[in-house]
């Protein structure tokens, strides 16, 4: 949403009706009585600060989290200090030691597509890397989910010289020896995706944080753990690693309404409060441009 055509913005400035006046446009459907403002303490109470670096002061995710949550200033954010939900805490606590520290979040302080100054992995988990990690470290290659504990167990089994790291030789031997799936499955997947690379290289690209060419135990756990829910279960392939709600299926990856179909109707409110706006109220009056997006 960062890129927006100046022409569109100029046109919007001259034609968009802001929400207060829009209520007068909704002549076809009677406007239901508007519910009270969302803030329970009344319109005059200041809203709590949104969960973001509003002033843009922070250069890193860690200093933002530390200033916001590290109440006793010991450089470790406990669950109690954090106070938001367990799933988000688990995703931040990448090494799974029960506290959020600077080393947990260093991987995320970066622009996309550029290596970090300290060489750590980007923190991104492309679906290909997720699938390769899952198929390489699951107990059962057909399973749709795996746990953090399974990953750690498989790691220990692969690390035959017990040096805390799995290198390409250990990995290749172990995967061949397990015979959990027919040989070549991962290679064929890479071929289908047009990737000129090996399974090891494609996986290491996303997992090998310190760029030593090997996968360390903390790196593997740090890759899997944020994908898992609060119970440590990672539903492989689901958006954000979480199991879909019943009936949701892969709706979030559906194609959306195509040209010619009726636009799905909705009723939403402006962020500052005020009248709800119903899309269908503009029918026969104006065309409506919808710009979907978020700040990040």
């Amino acid at each position: 949403m960062r890129r927006m055509s100046p022409w569109i913005l100029t046109l919007a400035a001259s034609t968009t009706v802001v929400s207060g006046a829009a209520a007068g446009m909704m002549m076809e459907a009677p406007t239901p009585p508007s519910p009270p403002p969302s803030s329970p303490s009344g319109a005059s109470a200041p809203a709590p600060a949104p969960p973001m670096d509003v002033a843009g002061r922070h250069t890193s995710v860690w200093t933002y989290l530390r200033d916001r949550y590290d109440g006793d200033g010991d450089g470790r954010i406990t669950g109690e200090e954090y106070g938001r939900d367990a799933a988000r805490f688990a995703r931040l606590d990448r090494d799974g030691d029960g506290v959020i520290t600077a080393s947990d979040v260093q991987g995320s302080s970066r622009r996309p597509g550029r290596p970090s100054r300290d060489g750590r992995a980007t923190g991104r988990r492309p679906m290909l890397a997720q699938r390769l990690v899952a198929m390489s470290f699951q107990d059962d290659a057909d399973a749709s989910s795996m746990t953090v504990a399974e990953a750690a167990r498989a790691f220990a089994a692969y690390d035959t010289n017990d040096d805390g790291r799995v290198d390409e030789a250990e990995f290749t031997c172990a995967v061949a020896a397990r015979r959990v799936m027919p040989p070549g499955v991962n290679e064929r997947m890479l071929e289908r995706l047009g990737r000129e690379t090996t399974v090891w290289a494609a996986m290491v690209e996303s997992v090998d944080g310190d760029r030593d060419g090997m996968i360390g135990r903390a790196e593997l756990v740090g890759f899997v753990r944020p994908l898992a829910d609060a119970e440590g279960v990672w539903t492989i392939g689901a958006p954000n690693g979480r199991a879909a709600r019943p009936g949701e299926g892969r709706a979030s990856r559906g194609s959306g309404p195509a040209v010619g179909v009726m636009a799905p109707d909705f009723e939403l409110r402006p962020p500052g409060g005020g009248e709800a706006v119903r899309l269908s109220s503009f029918r026969h009056e104006r065309a409506v441009a919808l710009i979907f997006g978020s700040y990040t």
Partner: protein
């Protein structure tokens, strides 16, 4: 022509599976409540200078974002008949404001070429004729 920014779930919150933040990228936690998302949306509209457009915020069930397959970002144009006139490709690669601009120009030409606006019904819903 009416423009709405529909503010949906964060694409890269720092506590998500594809975190970004710092080094010039906005530092945002994944909002839990609608109130939190409203707060982030307001900052975003200001920071990205989108205020010529009105903003609406999707509920935390992400229902509208999912109905339009809009995550992480996407552009649509709905015609006066309520039907989709332009469906942009899924973002970020498919998010092309110049395509939306072209669709808007075409829609305005189409509307100007029609018989003119039909008389708007009065508040009781009866046509003036």
């Amino acid at each position: 022509m009416q423009f709405f920014v529909v503010y949906i779930r964060e694409a890269h919150p720092l506590d998500g599976t594809s975190p970004l933040g710092g080094g010039g990228m906005p530092i945002v936690e994944d909002p839990i409540t609608l109130e939190e998302r409203n707060g982030v949306a307001e900052v975003c509209m200001t920071r990205l200078a989108l205020e010529p457009m009105a903003a609406l915020v999707d509920g935390v069930d992400d229902a509208v974002g999912r109905a339009y397959a809009a995550h992480p970002d996407r552009l649509y144009l709905v015609g006066r008949d309520g039907r989709i006139v332009y469906q942009g490709g899924p973002g970020p690669g498919g998010f092309k404001p110049e395509e939306l601009a072209a669709a808007i120009r075409a829609e305005r030409v189409r509307s100007a070429g029609s018989d003119g606006r039909p008389p708007a019904p009065d508040r009781q819903g009866h046509s003036p004729h």
